[in-house]
């Protein structure tokens, strides 16, 4: 262990730093991210740092963050299937209807590069619908999808009626968003945690 590696009391008041926090926001799903990062900082500082030093503690912190991203995202998706069943139906509808509508527009006769662009243009709104309930993200996905379809049209040179496809997806996601909001507003949503009891609330 080098001199810079020697154990110290703290990883620093600003640990893990502004840039790292932005990276963690990208890496980890939103639900319970703060508690999770708090747990990581605490274990890195109180357990790993005294035993193995500052560098090892930082390395441990990032290794844990990286290896935790996958199970947390998988869990979030699994929970979404249960909580947002309608959204999943819309996403499946996009993935089934998209290729059918594209084929109806003659996309299957286009060059391979154009077909690939069409497929990406279908997957983007489906992924946006799956990963986010935010309408702005859905609109951005629809816009991006439209641009890809314009690219596909330019690549194929054919007169195809593809541009409406992403906006039909957007309307579907929009209707689903309103449906989900109505359910939540009427108290039918799930996933909230029970309030703490008096005996549970005292720990810090």
């Amino acid at each position: 262990m080098s001199a810079t590696d020697s154990p110290r009391d703290s990883l620093g008041a600003d640990f893990p730093g502004e840039g790292a926090q932005r990276l963690l926001r990208l890496l980890l799903p939103a639900g319970r991210r703060e508690e999770f990062v708090g747990d990581l900082i605490e274990e890195a500082e109180t357990v790993v740092l005294p035993r193995q030093g500052r560098r090892a503690a930082r390395r441990w912190f990032w290794w844990q963050a990286a290896t935790s991203a996958s199970p947390m995202h998988v869990r979030r998706c699994a929970r979404d299937v249960g909580m947002h069943r309608q959204r999943w139906i819309v996403v499946v509808a996009i993935l089934v209807l998209g290729p059918l509508m594209a084929m109806d527009s003659g996309a299957h006769t286009a060059p391979p590069a154009a077909i690939a662009l069409v497929l990406v243009a279908i997957v983007i709104p489906a992924a946006a619908g799956l990963l986010s309930g935010n309408l702005r993200i859905h609109a951005t996905a629809a816009l991006l999808s439209t641009l890809l379809l314009i690219g596909a049209r330019l690549a194929s040179g054919a007169e195809l009626r593809w541009y409406a496809i992403p906006w039909i997806f957007y309307i579907l996601l929009n209707l689903n968003w309103r449906y989900e909001h109505r359910i939540i507003s009427s108290g039918g949503g799930s996933g909230s945690t029970g309030p703490p009891t008096a005996s549970q609330g005292g720990a810090s």
Binding site: L28, D39, L40, I41, E42, S68, S70, M72, R75, G202
Partner: protein, 114 residues
């Protein structure tokens, strides 16, 4: 036991860790308990995913504690086993025990005299 409330091997370990830790059960302590007592090295993300699943099944409840300085102002999320969770854990352990009985090679390991 209803199909949905059966606990897998890792869920049983996490539930037992919650019970061993009592009022001090949160992500980090559960991870440490599994590592030190059960010799299971798992990522904190796996612990959080399992706790979230158990909470969704209604077997565990959670609540936020006060933010701490050692955590750079981030609160701890404490977990507690519910009565339904205790029941599910007992049922899972009992079914495992029933399956184990009569397996002659295992009985001496568990100190069972036949």
């Amino acid at each position: 036991m209803p199909k949905g409330s059966y606990l897998g091997d890792f869920e049983q370990l996490v539930m037992l860790a919650l019970m061993r830790l009592g009022d001090g059960a949160y992500g980090m302590t559960v991870r440490r308990e599994l590592e030190e007592t059960a010799d299971r090295r798992v990522s904190l993300g796996a612990i959080y995913a399992t706790l979230d699943r158990l909470e969704n099944k209604g077997l565990v409840t959670s609540f936020l504690g006060a933010p701490g300085n050692a955590r750079r102002g981030r609160a701890k999320r404490f977990f507690k086993v519910r009565a339904s969770g205790l029941k599910a854990l007992q049922a899972s352990l009992a079914s495992m025990d029933r399956m184990r009985r009569g397996v002659d090679e295992l009985d001496p390991l568990f100190g069972v005299t036949t």
